[in-house]
């Protein structure tokens, strides 16, 4: 699989909110100039 790099399109995935609702990542990036996504690791 080719590495995702700067300039590539981000994968638009549908995940669940903490309340169990479905949410697409695109809904977040389309609603602001920039979206910062932080994938948690065990240090938080």
């Amino acid at each position: 699989m080719r590495e995702l790099k700067v300039g590539d399109s981000a994968p638009n995935l549908v995940l669940e909110t903490i309340n169990g609702e479905r949410a697409a990542l695109a809904d977040y990036w389309e609603n602001s100039e920039i979206l910062l996504i932080i994938f948690l690791r065990h240090l938080g």
């Binding site: 995940l15 910062l36 994938f39 948690l40 065990h42 240090l43």
Partner: protein, 134 residues
């Protein structure tokens, strides 16, 4: 959490912040309560997004000296040890994405303590904001 203290600055650059967790919803809710953060959090128990964004898993790199040092620093600051929860080998990452869905910045963590500073992230969003205005 340091990021939370700079929430207003991110807002001023029209930057939305979303956390993605692979823990079950209850664990994620506990984490939100403990940290007191008010950013959005999405649950990815099947790690669809972790895989799509190509984030590694590594036992060796997850529990190296840098991780122990980071935990020691947190505990010295008064944080409570929560024990091992879920898969401690899963590494994280940080991504900036523009309104069109283009990736502006990537950092895939080499170990759990490897992450961009808040200052670096603010500089990147500030630069992007300025470039759009000119």
């Amino acid at each position: 959490m340091q990021l939370h203290r700079h929430k207003d600055e991110f807002i001023s650059y029209d930057t939305n912040v979303v956390f993605i967790a692979f823990s079950a919803g209850a664990l994620a809710r506990n984490w939100l309560q403990e940290t007191g953060i008010s950013f959005s959090i999405l649950i990815d128990q099947e790690r669809i997004a972790y895989n799509a964004f190509q984030l590694d898993r590594s036992l060796l790199r997850s529990w190296g000296p840098k991780t122990w040092l980071a935990y020691a620093r947190l505990m010295l600051k008064g944080h409570r040890w929560r024990g091992i929860q879920d898969d401690s080998t899963q590494l994280g990452g940080d991504f900036l994405i523009d309104r069109q869905g283009k990736i502006l910045f990537t950092l895939r963590s080499r170990d759990p303590s490897h992450r961009p500073s808040v200052e670096k992230l603010l500089q990147l969003v500030s630069d992007h904001h300025r470039n759009r205005e000119t």
